[in-house]
């Protein structure tokens, strides 16, 4: 691991100010960053420890929603009574990710910024447009079983690894940031950037900006939600395909559905196509399958990951079956 200077920030303004020199990075849980520093994928010259900042609270909002600090640990968020009651999909997604130890470390803000598990991104001996823009993509012709089928480009097919972000994508979370130019917020559906020709740019965070908190709107009456994850082993593994679904039922009729998918997209993948199919439809396997077909219509398989397209469809159908059960 390369050498770096370390400083601990005591307030948000100081934290934002101290990353202005290039080569500085914030560290919170460290579970992605320190891993990548060991691999020399990340080589910060300055590490700004933000664990002392007062961003670790989960607070009810006046409108019935929830405000989640960027430093709330994954385990605390997953086991929070309000989250479990109002947003089961979020609790389930969090508990399906990583291990209890990692969830005790990983933070809400950090998880939104989690980096891909693409083998070629993680190995500095390979070409990777995300790590080293313009060097090429080793995954394209390499072993790409875990790679994305949605949102890919000829420059990058790396999968976004987070489960939590998929649930937040379905919930339509709002992300609040602060930085050298002040505070701003953005819907999570506009936070992530498709790889396109610049896979090194993964989100809209500007240099020096930090996520301060995330808000969730109050859940609709009669809304039910569910997260289903499919992977190579029963636990402690990244998704091959996952689905976060929130459904408002009126009898057996779906009034409204919110659908996001994980393990298949270059970003946490919201599917307005599936939502459109489901809105106003009867809750039936046939309609769930139509929604799944719509969600994966634009999917593009590479050499080893074609199985993900059918797996993702079945995962979404199963998740919808589960959430609409009486």
């Amino acid at each position: 691991m390369h050498e770096f200077q370390y400083t601990k920030a005591s307030d948000v303004g100081q934290a934002v100010g101290s990353v202005s020199p290039s080569g500085a990075k914030f560290v919170a849980g460290g579970t992605t960053l320190i891993d990548l520093m060991k691999l020399e994928v990340e080589r910060p010259k300055l590490l700004v420890d933000i664990n002392g900042l007062p961003l670790d609270r989960i607070e009810p909002e006046g409108n019935g929603g929830l405000k989640i600090g960027a430093l709330v640990r994954n385990s605390d968020l997953a086991h929070d009574e309000q989250v479990q009651r109002l947003y089961p999909v979020l609790s389930q997604a969090l508990l399906s990710g990583a291990s209890p130890q990692l969830r005790n470390m990983a933070t809400t803000g950090g998880n939104l910024l989690q980096r891909t598990r693409c083998y070629y991104f993680r190995d500095v001996n390979y070409a990777c447009n995300k790590r080293n823009p313009g060097s090429g993509c080793s995954a394209m012709e390499g072993y790409n079983r875990i790679h994305a089928v949605l949102g890919t480009s000829s420059h990058c097919i790396a999968t976004h690894p987070s489960d939590m972000a998929v649930a937040m994508m379905a919930l339509g979370a709002t992300i609040f940031m602060t930085g050298p130019k002040g505070d701003r917020s953005i819907p999570i559906t506009k936070f992530y950037l498709l790889p396109g020709t610049t896979p090194d740019r993964e989100n809209v965070l500007a240099a020096g900006e930090i996520i301060t908190h995330v808000t969730l709107s109050p859940p609709a009456q009669n809304a039910k939600s569910h997260y289903l994850k499919r992977r190579d082993r029963a636990s402690y593994e990244f998704a091959l395909a996952s689905a976060a679904v929130i459904v408002e039922l009126d009898g057996r009729k779906i009034r409204k559905a919110q659908v996001a998918m994980g393990g298949v997209g270059t970003i946490p993948w919201r599917s307005p196509e599936a939502e459109h199919e489901l809105a106003g439809a009867e809750a039936s396997e046939r309609n769930f399958r139509r929604a799944a077909e719509a969600a994966l219509r634009g999917a593009k398989a590479h050499k080893d990951n074609g199985f993900k397209i059918e797996l993702a469809k079945r995962t979404l159908v199963r998740a919808l079956q589960t959430v609409t059960q009486a």
């Binding site: 200077q5 370390y6 601990k8």
Partner: protein
Amino acid sequence: MKENPDESPETKKGDSSTKPPSQLSRRTFLGNIATVGIATTAAPLLQVGELDAQQVHQPATDVAEAPATSAGTVPVSLKINGQTKNLQIEPRVTLLDALRENLGLFGTKKGCDHGQCGACTVHINGRRVNSCLTFAIMHQGDEITTVEGLAKNGELHPVQAAFLEHDAFQCGYCTSGQIMSAVALLKEPCGKDADAIRECMSGNICRCGAYNNIVAAVRSVQGGS
């Protein structure tokens, strides 16, 4: 990965002739076999006890508490198993490496060094974490507990006793991490059936596959608590 950094020559100097042979530790034993092997390849094992009396490891805490300043190092104060330890280390030293390399606490194991196996599990402020994925400098003021800090007044922690009782290990390399996870699990919202325990223990990989006995050990403590 360095296979056995704890058995490097640096840790085998010093004198603790007061240590009775009956306290011959596994590490000392293995270390001295290596020494004997170098000195006289045919040395009878009986000599090990004598060697033990002559050259047992210097307690590594002494090394740690006499910091030497070198380029890039900074003072770091850690509270480990109730004791404050002052180190002079680089910011890039992980908590795991500080425990093993600087403090001589070899109970915490280095497996994958990337948060994928759980062998390095310790408690920070009562919560289990992977000590390989955090820097020591980030934990000044925190209460750190390692497997060495579980036993109280010579009595094994009930989870340690249960692992012995249920033969919940084979090679033992993952065991301290498994035990640290199991101890933390008792205070977490984890169910009591075998499936729930498997899920709660999923952050600790055992290549020997002692999982059935590990689950049995955890269940026995859950039931008894």
